[in-house]
Structures are given as C-alpha cells and as structure tokens.
C-alpha cells in the first residue's frame, strides 16, 4: 500500500475524542446522543464490524437532572448471583454512592444488547465533576451539544447586564417594595 493510501485510511478511521457536559441534562436523553458517538453511527463509514466508534468523555455527571420524582422513586436492580442477593437501590442512594453510575447505566441501556456493547462501553469515560485528567483532556477535540437548555441562575448574571437590560416596566422611584 502506498504511503498516500495508508495515510488516507489512517485519517478516515481515526478515533475522535468528544466531550459532553452532563450538567442539568436528562441522562436517558443524553444517553441516546452519546451512544451514537460511541458506536460510530454519526460516521458515514459506519459498519458494526468496523470498530469505528469514538471516545466520549462525560463531565459533571454529579449534576444530572432526572425527571419528575425519579430521584425518589426510580430503583436500580442488582443481583449478585448468589441466593438472596437481589437488591433494589433508589436513584438518590445510587447517586450518592457513585455519581457516575446513573449515566453509565443509562448509556448501557440505550445500546443494543449485543456482544459489542461491553467493548463499546469501555470507550466512555465519566467524571463526576469538572476535574478531568490532563492527558484525557488534551485528547479531546470536539464537544457534543447538550439537549436541554441550562437555565441561567439569576444571581449569576453579571451586574452590567442587569443594569443595561431593557425593561418593559419599572416601579416609580418612591415606591416601597414590601
């Protein structure tokens, strides 16, 4: 194979590293997006035998947002294999024990249950906060867009913006706020 063809193949099958910020995101919606990048479904060269999946680094997994009262009511099942080894753990308990488990289980559930699943899951790195190791962060060259809008906290808007923002109405000067 000539050098040009070798290099072209290297580039076409290169594995990219993507980063995804899980803050305020629903893990099950995000899992659908993340699984596409992990399996390589976003590439036109996709084939299940091709090993064309990319690496996804998920950060801020501690700040995920489950819907409704799922934190209180969703239970994760685990069986050790031994008799009497069934356990039902609620979402908030699991999250306290290991903040990366919920998003990991969500991505695992989103994928097809074939023999490639375990191998593909090894390409997913989850970090509970913003703290990512240097060498992993250096590899990352693309960011996956979130699904949900992260609402801006009112006390985190800078002062100049609040002062110059156009107002529809304003209280008169001598009005006393209760």
């Amino acid at each position: 194979m000539s050098a040009a063809k070798r290099v072209q193949q290297w580039a076409t099958f290169a594995r990219s590293w993507h980063i995804f910020d899980c803050k305020w995101q629903d893990p099950y919606e995000s899992a659908n997006i993340i699984k596409k990048y992990l399996m390589g479904l976003h590439k036109p060269i996709y084939h299940p035998m091709n090993d064309c999946g990319d690496v996804v680094v998920a950060i801020n997994s501690r700040d995920i947002a489950l819907r409704g009262d799922e934190w209180r009511t969703r239970a994760y099942f685990h069986h050790t294999g031994y008799p009497g080894g069934a356990s039902w753990t609620l979402a908030w308990e699991l999250h306290n024990k290991d903040p990366t488990m919920i998003i990991k289980k969500a991505v695992y559930r989103a994928m097809k249950g074939n023999l490639q699943r375990r191998h593909t899951m090894q390409r997913l790195f989850i970090y509970p906060g913003e703290n990512v190791p240097e060498d992993v962060l250096q590899n990352v060259t693309n960011q996956i867009r979130q699904i949900r809008l992260v609402p801006t906290r009112l006390d985190q808007i800078p002062e100049e913006v609040t002062k110059t923002y156009p107002k529809v109405m304003d209280y008169p000067e001598d009005y006393v706020l209760k």
């Binding site: 290099v7 290297w10 290169a14 060498d135 250096q138 590899n139 060259t141």
Partner: protein, 322 residues
C-alpha cells in the same frame, strides 16, 4: 361416477415444473468422495498433469494464427507472425530432433523481432507519457515506463491476448519471460507488416491502458518532499507556511494530525499523518502532486491519442541530484 373419477388423472394434464436454469440446492452424495479420490490419485502421480493445448487433437496452428490476427483487428504477414511466436528454445529442440532424422527445415526464432519490438515499445511509451503527463518530472515518466514495460505487465497482457496456447516453446507451461518476449516480437512483426501507426495504436490499446486505475505518483520516488517544494516555491519568490489544522487523540497510539500548507494565506494542500512530521511530509507531497498535475482529482489520462504524438516543450521540473 367411479369411472369418471378414475379417468380424471388420465385426462387432466399433470404439469410438473422442473426448474431449468437454477442450481440444485443439494450437493449429491457422490460428489465429495469422487473429488477426494481424484485428489488422492493426483497426489500419487505427483501433481496434476496438464497437457499443453497444442498437443490436443483439435488444434490447427494456421487457423489459430489467423484468428489471433483477426481478433486483434490487425493485418500480419503470416510468416512474420509465425516467426514471432517461435521461441529460441523451440528452435534448439527442433534442430536436435532434426539432426537425428537428418531433416533440414530452418525455423526462424523471434530474437530480432523481440529487439525491434522492445525498442519501439520503449520509444513510443516514453513519447506518449511525455505528451499525456506534461508537467511530470522525467524520473517519474521513466519510472512509469519501466513499470509498463516490466516483464510482469507484458506477460499479463500477452496471456490475456491468447498467446499462451500458440507459443512454440520447449517446455510448457510457458514462463513470464517468454510471454513478455512474445509480446515484443508481435509488436515487432506488426511494425514490419503494417507500419508505425498501427503498431503504435496496438501498444497504446494494450500496454498503456494498464495505467487505468493506477496512481502515477507511486513511480516517482521522492526522498524529501518538503525541501523539494521549498526550492520550487523559492524560484517564484513566495514562502510556504505549514499549519496544524486538525488533530485527534494526541496522547493515544491512534493519534491523527492534519497539516495544511498555506501560500499567501490561501490553502494549497493538506495532508494527514500519524505524527506532525508525517502529516507535513504528506501535505508537501500533495502540493508537489498539484504542481506536477497528477493529483487524485486530475483529469483521466487520455488513452485515445492517435499516431505518434509530439510532446510540446513545456516546463518540467528537473530533480537535480544535489
């Protein structure tokens, strides 16, 4: 009633559908044991005995030679054609046989025709390539010509033209060297029989078309593309700026880098690589391909030029040994 019932199958047409052209799904029981037994017998004798075609009962050398000429749509002088197919080894073998029988039929062998044909093929291909790849350096043109006139290519062409059965040689099956020589001899015979133009078209249609689908740049070896590129560009007075325009997985084994070359802030070419140095080298090679007019998106090589084309005096880059 009973009579009618019994007669119905006699009158009604019993239509059985036998599939005619579909293959049988079943492989018969006797197929595998038969093949195994045949293989055993072959091994015992020591390999398959393949008889050369000209020892068969249905063989007419004159008819084969005529058909060969007609198939290629060419006119050959029949003596020259027979001479082209006779190999030196066959002549030697015949002379040894004839010594014993005290015969004396002189058979001409194809050595002179091979030389004439070889010279013509090389000259014509050199000419053609110079016209068809006007900016390609001479070393590259020479490399492509060497590839096209290599023994493997000419032997392959010769095989697919049907010379394998007609060649008169001492041992069968014929090896590549004899096949390639036969092809050159045929070109020599055609040159003598029909003239330069017809021989030129023959070489063009069978040898030069082997370039179809091949990357011409493989036959131009460049050791240091970056220094070559800078020296070319220096003559015009501009500088090339290499920039890293993409990377994936820097700390991994599968790291991929993309380097782009810019002249006056406009991208000239880009290259990929396992490391930044390799990517820069490949980008330089791409830029050189564009200068030589042989990039991947070049216009396909024209295989329809008639006669003996004349190369125009265009500027070709000279790779001087520094």
């Amino acid at each position: 009633m009973a009579l009618i019932r019994r007669c119905v199958p006699l009158f009604a047409k019993v239509v059985r559908i036998h599939p005619v052209t579909t293959q049988a799904q079943k492989i018969h029981r006797w197929v595998a044991p038969t093949l195994m037994e045949l293989k055993r017998r072959e091994k015992k004798v020591g390999g398959k005995k393949i008889n050369p075609r000209n020892t068969f009962l249905e063989w007419n050398l004159e008819a084969e030679l005529y058909a060969f000429a007609q198939r290629l749509n060419e006119d050959f002088d029949s003596d020259l054609l027979l001479q082209a197919f006779t190999d030196r080894s066959y002549v030697i073998k015949e002379e040894m046989k004839q010594k014993e029988l005290e015969f004396d039929i002189k058979m001409k062998d194809n050595r002179e025709l091979v030389e004439i044909g070889d010279q013509f093929i090389n000259a014509y291909i050199q000419n053609y390539l110079e016209v068809v790849l006007p900016k390609f350096p001479m070393e590259g043109v020479k490399g492509v010509r060497k590839f096209l006139t290599s023994e493997a290519i000419l032997a392959n062409v010769s095989l697919h033209l049907g010379t394998k059965d007609i060649i008169l040689a001492a041992e069968y099956p014929v090896d590549n060297f004899i096949l390639a020589n036969t092809f050159k001899a045929i070109v020599g015979a055609l040159l003598d029989s029909s003239g330069e133009e017809r021989a030129a078209h023959f070489v063009r249609d069978f040898v030069i078309t082997q370039l179809q689908g091949q990357d011409v740049n493989e036959y131009l070896p460049i050791e240091d593309p970056w220094s070559m590129l800078t020296s070319i560009v220096k003559k015009d007075g501009t500088t090339i700026e290499p920039r890293l325009i993409g990377e994936t997985g820097r700390n991994t084994l599968l790291a991929c880098y993309r380097v782009g070359l810019y002249v006056d802030k406009k991208m000239v070419s880009s290259g990929f690589g396992e490391s930044v140095a390799i990517a820069k080298e490949m980008a330089a090679r791409e830029a050189l391909k564009k200068i030589f007019g042989t990039e991947d998106t070049m216009k396909p090589i024209n295989f329809k030029l008639d006669g003996i084309p004349k190369p125009t005096s265009q500027t070709r880059y000279q790779i001087t040994a520094s």
